[in-house]
Amino acid sequence: MIRVVLPAHLRTLVQVTGEVQVEVDGEPTLRSVIDALEARYPVLLGTIRDRATQERRPFVRFFACERDLSHGSIDASLPDAVATGGEPLLVIGAMAGG
């Protein structure tokens, strides 16, 4: 079970107030967790990754265990603490604008 904290606007879209949890097969990666998120909440399609390119949207970042995972490989294994449910994966909307 992977714990994910979504930014406020995406929590509103999926109609939750706290963390969400998803299951992935095998060793979790950013790709498998986002795939699982989008499968469970189809409204997230296009909001985290661009629909055409499947790239991370420019103002979205991924953090876990006080590390920025945004610029690493999307297929890299997530930290053990995230894989075991001890720490959440944070999906962050970059602070910009007013």
Binding site: H9, L10, T12, L13, L45, I48, R51, A52, R57, G97
Partner: protein, 371 residues
């Protein structure tokens, strides 16, 4: 008794304003989609309870929301806007080639006859259509590929397809307008297109009479006279009587002919409305006075409408999609401002009053007249 429903898109959500036919007391619902930019909300003429909304964010992209109960509840539908084939390039602001990239949906235009068919005008400029209630979208790529697309250039707000007009007398005829490319017409249901910009003159482009490159801000049509179109261009108010084959200027005595919004009275096809804006570098009314101008002669002769509108210290803008009319016996006229006011006139512009004063910046206003 008849009633009206005003659909308002703002920088931070959508609002639905309702009133009876007197249009004196209003109920306000919202914000819907709080915190998101709502470029446009529009209702189906064939089923007034069917609404579509364009919900977008620079962070989280584009969603399309659909309501089947007049805006009480919403559900997200399809948000895949994939250009047909390899999209190629258009011109960037500096004239260099720039790849076509989807940014957002500016305008949603439901079919006049089928609630499940809806057109979407997007940035970077293209026209999409859904025939299944917004679940799936397909580009009508004949517009982008008709030949001039590689020379299109964005206006200051982006290269947006912002106007879609469906001819009620001819289901095959569609008009669109793009900033800053110009106006286009299809006579075969959106398959093929041609520019219709003869007569437009834009001093700010290399060839003022070019086939494309004109910054058309908005086009309006009266349904009883679909060959007559009125255009608010970057500068100049224009008119065509031959479905866009030729345009002539009808700015007449307007104090400034820059502006964004334009619309036509519901029952008088020769009565049109604009909101003059000082200039392309100062997007606010002249002298701090918010004035709607009305022509009852199809242009050239204009009168200022001021009763109930602020006549000092007003420096808001009225954007291109932010004016609409109802079709009650006494035609109502509505517009929203970047200052968050939505003004209504129940008597064709003679008298105005704010429905709301403090919304986020208003991007769009549509009106539904309900039986």
């Amino acid at each position: 008794m008849s009633s009206v429903r005003v659909l308002v898109g703002t920088r931070k959500g959508a609002f639905v304003l309702t009133s009876d036919g007197k249009r004196e007391r209003w109920d306000v619902s919202g914000p819907h989609f709080a915190g998101w930019e709502i470029y446009h909300v529009n209702g189906s003429p064939a089923d007034p309870n069917r609404l579509y909304a364009s919900q977008s964010s620079g962070w989280f992209g584009q969603l399309i929301q659909r309501s089947d109960d007049g805006g009480t509840t919403w559900e997200p539908v399809g948000n895949t806007f994939a250009y047909d084939g390899v999209p190629g390039t258009h011109q960037w602001y500096d004239g260099t080639p720039h790849p076509w990239e989807f940014a957002r949906v500016w305008h949603l235009e439901p079919s006049l006859t089928d609630p499940d068919t809806v057109y979407a005008g997007v940035e970077d400029a293209a026209l999409f259509r859904s025939t299944d209630g917004g679940l799936n979208w397909r580009e009508l790529s004949g517009l982008r590929k008709h030949g001039t697309g590689s020379s299109w250039q964005p206006g200051a707000g982006g290269m947006c397809l912002h106007t879609i007009l469906l001819d009620p007398s001819n289901p095959q005829r569609i008009f669109t307008a793009i900033s800053a490319a110009g106006a286009f017409r299809s006579d075969d249901g959106g398959t093929t297109w041609k520019p219709i910009n003869q007569g437009l003159r834009s001093e700010s482009i290399p060839d003022p009479k070019a086939e494309v490159g004109h910054c058309v801000h908005r086009i309006a049509m009266h349904p009883s006279r679909p060959n007559v179109l009125f255009m608010q261009k970057h500068w100049d108010v224009m008119r065509t009587d031959d479905a866009g084959d030729s345009w002539r200027e009808v700015s007449g005595n307007l104090p400034t002919d820059f502006g964004f919004a334009i619309d036509v009275h519901a029952h008088e096809p020769n009565t049109i409305y604009v909101v003059p804006i000082k200039s392309d570098s100062e997007h606010f009314p002249l002298d701090g006075k918010l004035q709607v101008y009305r022509s009852r002669t199809g242009g050239n002769e204009w009168e200022a409408l001021t009763k109930g509108l602020p006549q000092r210290d007003c420096y808001v803008n009225v954007l291109r999609d932010a004016m609409a009319v109802d079709s009650l016996d006494s035609c109502g006229v509505y517009f929203g401002t970047t200052g968050g006011q939505v003004y209504a006139s129940p008597d064709a512009g003679d008298n105005w009053a704010p429905i709301v004063r403090d919304l986020p910046a208003v991007l769009s206003v549509e009106v539904q007249t309900l039986a």
